[in-house]
Subunit: 338 residues, 2 copies
DNA sequence: GTAGCGCAGTAGAGCGCTCTCCCTGTGATC
DNA sequence: GATCACAGGGAGAGCGCTCTACTGCGCTAC
């Protein structure tokens, strides 16, 4: 095996010479064109194996104008995104699975600094990727609009705020929250507070909306504290809520991580869960099964979101149409905290 | 602005015509060659901006034989890696930061299925990336050896088992664990057990070694239960330990996540921490500050590991030599569980 | 027998860039 | 004023691949 013949890696040319055919024929075989006789195909395949030939993707991209790779843009400060919130990890897994199945590569663009916007736009403009998946946008982010304008296929995770017509995948936040709050009401809770996510993120806004909708017409008062999806903010928000209304008997928390913080604050304040205060979270990440007590929560199919994101962006890249919005269902998982 | 002139994106040629110079000169300007007069440079820069020109990376790669991207290979079953273990997230952040600073791209290769090995080798062989970072290897993994043989720059996170001469970044596992166990002894603990990681991972092996070294010569008996770095395995291992030796008064747990599980098992068994049993973990991920009680643990500089991995692989890709092993220090963080 | 046709295979252009070579113009030197 | 050195810029090859012609060949049909 002369894996490394003089001059480095084998090219189409090398294979063609060894197989005694033309470059084009080798190309056909490599790309699975049907119009090659089995005998010729065999000869070529053997030559490919003997030389350890692997096509040069740069050369291929240059002519096909495809790169067979997709970028996942994570625009949040990485510190926040990758704390031990399992959300992104799960989504990443879904995206990865689906791309692997389609033999596409995943390029990770972590946008940690303000200058990252330009870097990402430059990158995307260079057509280094066939499409872009946008994760977890904040309200003011100009990225979806800018990307859409640049003409590259884009799919967003969660409805982008502002008026950009970027297709997105999201879950039925409000519906899930309504189910959660109705569940609390059904259990006889009457003073139901909420801890929300940030007001500039769709997940924050819509979960608050769901809460308000569920209370509407019930005569129950709403009580809101704002968090930022971190555990610590959940703890602090819970303390504020207890101060505002010591008599509250339930709280819907807009993420499991914040709910974990809230449970801690409740314990510290001497409240028993669920006896004194019932708690419901949102996400159903692993931690929800391990809080004390295990957390009732609204499950969203995170890995499935990732899969759908990948599927949609590949569809767009292939020139096929996609629905402007795909809303996945949520499901209330009742454990012991409510 | 005719961003989209006929035929699509502007090329070097387009810019050259607009600026009234040759392609070569534009290339010089774009790549920052010093041998261009300021006037010419200005004209070219203006033309570049006017057209919104971005170099085609495929064309560039084709001739330079570089891709300005680095692969991060994650060979573990994704399910495990991306549970809510914050380790990979933190490492990823470090890698990302360092690559961003060097203007390199990060390609994520998630090896979830057995067939992934071939896929990764093919990918790497195609020279789609300038270097490879290997994360969290299991013992039997042939990847480091195969990659090293293929001639591509490789750096591993953690010493690879088996006899491959792949340079790696690791932390002083044994030293950290010794410090932890000595701390327990200094606090008067006498029946110190351990919960280890899997026996086919370096982190598992070396942390166990550190534990054994620390007990050596003290006359204290060792008591070992094996986990797999998941929370659940920590819980189960703790239960086994309590059964084996109900009188144990301390346990060193080889990861924070497992320690969280162990704390739960202790609580369930009615043991007070640290009064009855002291617990020390390893990693110092976020969860360690939020366990009940907050966890004493051995901190490893995870983000720094990521940074160093990136730095080393870039150095190798640039043809510079690197140390065969870089061992980062660990540090005992004493909180309330010991 | 020859025109027609389809299929397997070849030739060669060209994707957008870099980089080596070479040419030209300027200024210094004698 | 002729010669030389040197720096800035241009011409053009070529990176490895795909894909559109086009060629040659065997078959059928008239």
């Amino acid at each position: 095996m002369r894996d490394l013949q003089a001059g480095g890696r084998p090219t189409l040319e090398t294979v063609a010479r060894l197989a005694g055919v033309s470059r084009a024929t080798v190309s056909r075989v490599v790309n699975g064109s049907p119009s090659v006789t089995p005998e010729v195909r065999d000869v070529v395949v053997r030559a490919v194996q003997q030389l350890g030939y692997v096509p040069n993707p740069a050369a291929r991209s240059l002519v096909t104008q495809r790169t067979d790779s997709v970028a996942l843009v994570v625009p949040e400060p990485a510190t926040r995104v990758f704390s031990d919130d399992a959300f992104f990890s799960s989504m990443l897994r879904g995206v990865g699975e689906e791309l692997e199945a389609a033999d596409k590569q995943l390029v990770l663009l972590l946008a940690s600094t303000p200058s990252s916007h330009d870097r990402i736009m430059r990158y995307v403009h260079g057509r280094t990727v066939d499409g872009v998946i946008l994760a977890s946008l904040h309200g003011a982010d100009p990225l979806p609009l800018d990307l859409a304008r640049s003409g590259i296929p884009v799919v967003a995770s969660g409805r982008p705020l502002g008026r950009s017509a970027v297709p997105y995948i999201d879950v039925d936040h409000a519906g899930g929250v309504r189910a959660a709050v109705e569940h609390l009401i059904a259990r006889g809770r009457r003073r139901i507070a909420t801890i929300t996510g940030p007001a500039d993120m769709v997940a924050g806004i819509e979960r608050l909306t769901g809460y308000q909708e569920a209370l509407e017409g019930t005569g129950l008062r709403s009580l809101v504290a704002v968090g930022d999806f971190t555990r610590e903010s959940g703890r602090a928000a819970m303390e504020r809520l207890l101060e505002d209304d010591p008599g509250l008997d339930a709280v819907f928390v807009a993420s499991d991580l914040m709910a974990d913080g809230a449970l801690r604050a409740l314990r510290q304040a001497g409240r028993r869960v669920p006896d004194d205060v019932a708690v419901v979270g949102f996400d159903d990440v692993e931690i929800a099964r391990y809080t004390e007590p295990p957390l009732t929560t609204v499950r969203q199919p995170i890995t499935e979101i990732g899969r759908q994101l990948a599927r949609q962006v590949l569809r767009l890249a292939a020139g096929e149409p996609v629905e402007p919005a795909l809303i996945l269902p949520t499901e209330l998982v009742v454990r012991e905290s409510s």
